[in-house]
Structures are given as C-alpha cells and as structure tokens.
C-alpha cells in the first residue's frame, strides 16, 4: 500500500509519503475544500430556521431534504462543517501548542520544573475529561464556538506534553546533542535548534490525535445540548434532530448527513495519523 513518490522534498521526504497518508490528506482536503468553497455557493440564509418548507425528503429543490424546523439540509451541512472544523482546529492548536511548550520545558530542564509539569499533567490525565467538560459547559452562560474550543483545549494538552517530554528526554541522550555542546551551542539554542526539529514529527502526529479527540468531545457536548445552541455545527444538528425525534419520525435525511460527514472527518484524520507515522519513522516503511 505504500506508494513511493519521488518528489524533491527535503530530508528525503519524497520516498516516504505513503498511500495511507495521501488518502487521509485527500479526504481531509475534500472536506476542507467544500467547507471553504461551499459557503460561497450556498446561501447561509437557507440554513436558518424557517427558510424553507420543512420535513421535505431529499429531491428536487432540496438535494438533502429539509429538517423539521425548515432548514435546507445541504445548506446546513455546508455551513455547519466549517464551524465544527474550526472549533476542532482551534482546540487542537491550543492543546498541542500548550502541550508542546510544556513538554519541551519539562524534558529539557528537568528538576522541579519537570516535576511540577509532570504531576499536573499526569493528574489531569486521570480525570474523566467529559465529566469536567460537561460541568464547565453547563455553567457557562454565553457559550460560543470559540469558547467551546477553548474549554475543550484546556483538557487536551496533557497527552502531547507527555509525548513531547519523553521524546526530548530520549533525544538528549543522542550523540549529536553532545556534538552541539562542543560546537559551542548554549542550552536554549540546543533545545530549539537541535532538539525541536526532531520532536516536530511527534508534535504533528499529536496534533492530529488531539484535534480528533477535541472534535469528538465538542460534538459530544453539543449533542447533549451543551453547545452554542444558536450556531450551526454538526453536533448541534444531531441535537436538534434528537430533540425533534427525527429517528422515530423517519427523517433519516436529518440525522444521516451529519453522521456521514463526521465519519469522513474521522477517517481522514485517522488515515493521516497512521500515514504520518510511516512518514515520521522511515523504518516502518520499506526502504527502496
């Protein structure tokens, strides 16, 4: 399944891009493309309550039908997907960014800094995140998509911290770090110039994992009705569908599209993450 690509990318990258990674990135690319381009072609108004005839099955004017509150499903999907992705991205970036910095500091400096960071990160990891998130989300009065993203990010940094810290500790033992020292590089310079580039693959992989988890958490919270209820997101769609008993009433075109889109997002993220692993660790793939 590994297709060897001969592109001229640095570090011998070309031969390591595999089919899995391409597939994953393609799926994500397609979703992202439609998220960005879609809103220009489909009017947002159609996705709002009461804009079209409700309860219409797919066909004719409404390719994906309309829901019980008069939203055009296609328009809803086109506008909800970018919102969900945006939240996931923000949560992912904050979570991984925070986690990486803490991990780098803990690994490089050791001592009490490491002890403090590790204790906090390890304890928080054992806490059931969803439960905390439910409590937090339930108590916020003005929920918006950005706030939701931050809330979820606050509990998604720990895994990255641990991974990055472990990598830093391992890299510090390598010969080239000692060479860097005799070359006259100072400790901070070693951290950013020598250590970090080698931790990057793990950070990127972590990002994919963290974003996936964040999106899942966000969708979960929204489906429970704790999201920003007036915004158009995939999770909220599911919530609305639930509230209107769409399953019982046979409005499959209401609850199926968001699920399909969510599934595609996760498959894309998963394939990217697996494919990226092969990229980051060339020994997993076959050497040409």
């Amino acid at each position: 399944m590994t297709i060897a690509l001969k592109t001229r990318l640095p570090g011998g990258l070309g031969s390591r891009l595999g089919g899995t990674l391409i597939a994953g990135l393609s799926i994500l690319g397609v979703i992202a493309f439609f998220s960005i381009i879609g809103p220009f072609f489909v009017d947002e108004v159609l996705a709002q309550v009461g804009s079209v005839r409700p309860r219409q099955p797919p066909g004719g004017d409404f390719p994906l039908g309309s829901d019980a509150q008069g939203r055009d499903m296609l328009a809803l999907m086109v506008h909800a997907t970018p919102n969900t992705l945006k939240m996931g991205l923000i949560a992912g970036v904050i979570g991984v960014g925070l986690g990486s910095i803490l991990g780098l500091i803990a690994g490089q400096f050791g001592g009490w800094i490491d002890a403090v960071i590790s204790v906090i990160s390890d304890s928080l990891m054992t806490v059931p995140a969803i439960a905390i998130l439910v409590v937090i989300a339930g108590n916020i009065e003005e929920m918006s998509t950005s706030v939701m993203a931050v809330v979820v990010a606050s509990l998604s940094w720990m895994f990255t911290t641990r991974t990055v810290r472990a990598q830093v500790l391992s890299i510090r033992e390598r010969g080239y770090i000692e060479v860097a020292r005799v070359n006259g590089e100072g400790p901070l310079e070693i951290l950013f110039r020598e250590v970090m580039p080698n931790v990057m693959p793990y950070i990127v992989a972590s990002f994919v994992g963290t974003s996936s988890a964040a999106i899942l958490a966000i969708i979960g919270l929204e489906a429970l009705g704790l999201g920003a209820q007036n915004e158009m997101t995939l999770g909220n769609t599911i919530y609305w569908a639930q509230q209107s008993s769409a399953v019982l009433r046979g409005f499959w075109w209401w609850w199926a599209p968001p699920i399909v889109v969510i599934a595609m997002i996760f498959v894309g993220l998963f394939l990217t993450s697996v494919g990226f692993d092969r990229f980051a660790n060339p020994r997993l793939g076959r050497r040409a």
Partner: protein
C-alpha cells in the same frame, strides 16, 4: 615547557566504584600522539571525558596550559572548549538527522567566531574536508543518511580540525567504521598531527593501530595504569602480564604464531574486582602470593617505561603513577635526536 594538558593525581569514583585510579599524566605542548588502551571497563572512556572537561575528577586537578580547569573564567573555558575537540565513536549518532551535514560544520565556526557568514565559512569547511580526503561536492548539501559510515566519520574528523584545536581526543574513532576504511582514516588523523601540529589522544582497544599512529601509550586495566611508555617498548616488548596478554591476542596473519584452541584464562565476571591486591591477579599466569595481598605501586624499570607489577623488583619507584616522567624523557630524547624513525 608548560604541558598542554596535565592531570595531577586525578582519580574518579562513582560511589564505591573506582572508574579511574590515581594517576598523573601530561600531554606535552608539541604535537604528541598518545594512545590509551584497554578493554571495556578499563576506565579509558572516563579518562577521555576528564581530558575533554566533560566530567570532573573526584580527586586531583586538571590543568590546561597551566590553568586549573575548575577555576577557569568563562572566557578561558570557552578557549579551552575550542582548543580541545573530541571525535566520537559512533558515526551514526553524532549527526542531527534533521539537518544537512553542513550544519555540524558551520555551527562551530559561527559559535567560536571563526566565520560570520556562510560565505566566510565555506572556504574553511572545504579546506577541512579536503584534509580528510573528502570532496566538498560529494558531501556538502547532503543529509547524513545519504552518506556512508566512513564518510560520516571523516566529516567528524573535519569538524574537529576546523577549529584548529591544539588537542583532539579521539574515542575509538574507527571501531564502528568499515574495516577497509579504518587504516585510511587513521592515517589521515596522523597526517593532521604532522601537518597541523595537533596533538591527539587516541583511545582504543586495538593495539595494532595504536602502535602505528602513536608514539606513547598508556595501558589501563580496571581503572589503573598497568603499563605506560613508548609504543616500541610497551607493545614491542611488553612486560606487564596484561600487556603481554593484549599483545598476544592480536590476530596476526602469521602462521608461526597461531593461537591454537587452548583454554585461556577466563575473563572476570562483570564488575568483579578483587578487594585487595593486584587487580589482574585472577587472570595472571605469574600471580605470586604477594599479588593477592598488595596492590603493586608504579615503578620505572626502563627510562621509557612505567609499570605496576610485582614482577619488577628493580625499577625505581614512581608514586602516583606519574606518567609525565616517562613521556617527557622520551620527548627530550626525541628532541635531541631530531626526528624518529617512521
């Protein structure tokens, strides 16, 4: 003349374990070539790291050009760092896989102020590469995994030379390099000594190459100097039973001196050191009663040799293994003779 590096009464312990027993050694400030030989566990790597200033001795002092390393100012330390450079054993691990090999050659030039821009650095780098028999067009701009082990190690030698150090400490520089390239790389190192006057300390377990490229040698056994002196003496006519064992174990393509399959003295179990007496007693074919009770002091049976063995009864006593004596005298003799046989 002030020696380049001087170890006075240096000892290094880790808790109850003595990695390196008290010794004094000086590397003279003229392109000296000193081999430090021993098996794993002999303390040779510890000695190398003390010379490089990576670890501090538990006892004793290390002087660089007359200054105690422990009390050097930041500026003096910086100069020391530049003038004493290492070559490590593993040619794979010493390169940051993220960067092209240019990185490891440019960084020291920038950090030590020998070049400020890439344009300034380039001619210096090309010069260093050609000194180790590499062509810039074959190596610069490449990633470490694109080069062979031999090429990588040569780049490390080039890196060491780039800063025009006074001393290079090479820790088993060719043991992980393909056998067919070892001779060439070692010869290049010896050439650097001759043409640029860089002293080097060559850490190895291979006595053959030690003989070929060094003038003096220190044989370590379990942290203690067993024998030291001119290579022609110590390797050509070893007197310490351990040196004799090492030399006789060299595989030579000489059918008149075949090993045969006879039982050899078994190597000691890991970490097993006798608590009293000579460390080598358990393996020594000549072990006497005394050897089990008293750790032999260092003596000087010949002008160019130092030994720690009860078998030597006539040699003058040399407390604290002052190897400086043995090397210095040879250096003085060499200076007056103006050039040794090659």
């Amino acid at each position: 003349m002030t020696p380049l590096i001087e170890l006075r009464g240096v000892k290094r312990t880790y808790g109850a374990f003595t990695a390196l027993d008290t010794l004094s050694l000086s590397v003279p400030d003229r392109a000296a070539t000193i081999a430090i030989a021993g098996e794993s566990g002999s303390g040779k790597t510890t000695l190398a790291r003390i010379l490089l200033g990576f670890i501090e001795p538990t006892e004793g002092q290390v002087f660089y050009r007359g200054k105690d390393i422990a009390t050097m100012s930041a500026a003096e330390k910086f100069t020391f760092r530049r003038e004493v450079q290492p070559i490590f054993q593993d040619p794979f691990d010493v390169f940051n896989p993220f960067y092209r090999i240019d990185h490891v050659l440019e960084m020291p030039l920038y950090r030590f102020g020998l070049a400020k821009t890439r344009a300034e650095a380039r001619p210096l780098i090309e010069d260093a590469l050609s000194r180790v028999g590499l062509r810039p067009q074959d190596t610069l701009g490449r990633f470490p995994h694109e080069l062979s082990g031999g090429q990588r190690q040569r780049i490390m030698v080039a890196r060491a030379v780039l800063l025009r150090p006074r001393l290079i400490v090479a820790d088993e520089p060719v043991s992980m390099v393909d056998a067919s390239l070892r001779a060439t790389i070692l010869d290049e190192i010896r050439d650097l000594n001759r043409t640029l006057g860089i002293a080097f300390v060559y850490i190895t377990h291979d006595l053959t190459t030690a003989f070929q490229i060094c003038d003096d040698i220190v044989v370590l056994y379990q942290g203690k100097v067993a024998e030291a002196g001119a290579v022609e003496c110590v390797i050509g006519a070893p007197r310490h039973p351990y040196s004799q064992l090492l030399v006789s174990s060299i595989p030579l393509p000489d059918l008149s001196r075949r090993w045969g399959d006879d039982e050899m003295q078994a190597a000691p179990e890991q970490g097993d050191r006798p608590s009293a007496g000579c460390r080598f007693a358990p393996r020594c074919p000549h072990a006497m009663d005394q050897c089990w009770r008293v750790d032999p002091a260092h003596t000087r049976p010949d002008p160019d040799r130092l030994i720690a063995c009860h078998l030597d009864r006539e040699g003058a006593k040399l407390p604290g293994a002052d190897i400086a004596q043995v090397f210095q005298s040879r250096n003085n003799a060499a200076q007056s003779m103006k050039g040794t046989a090659t």
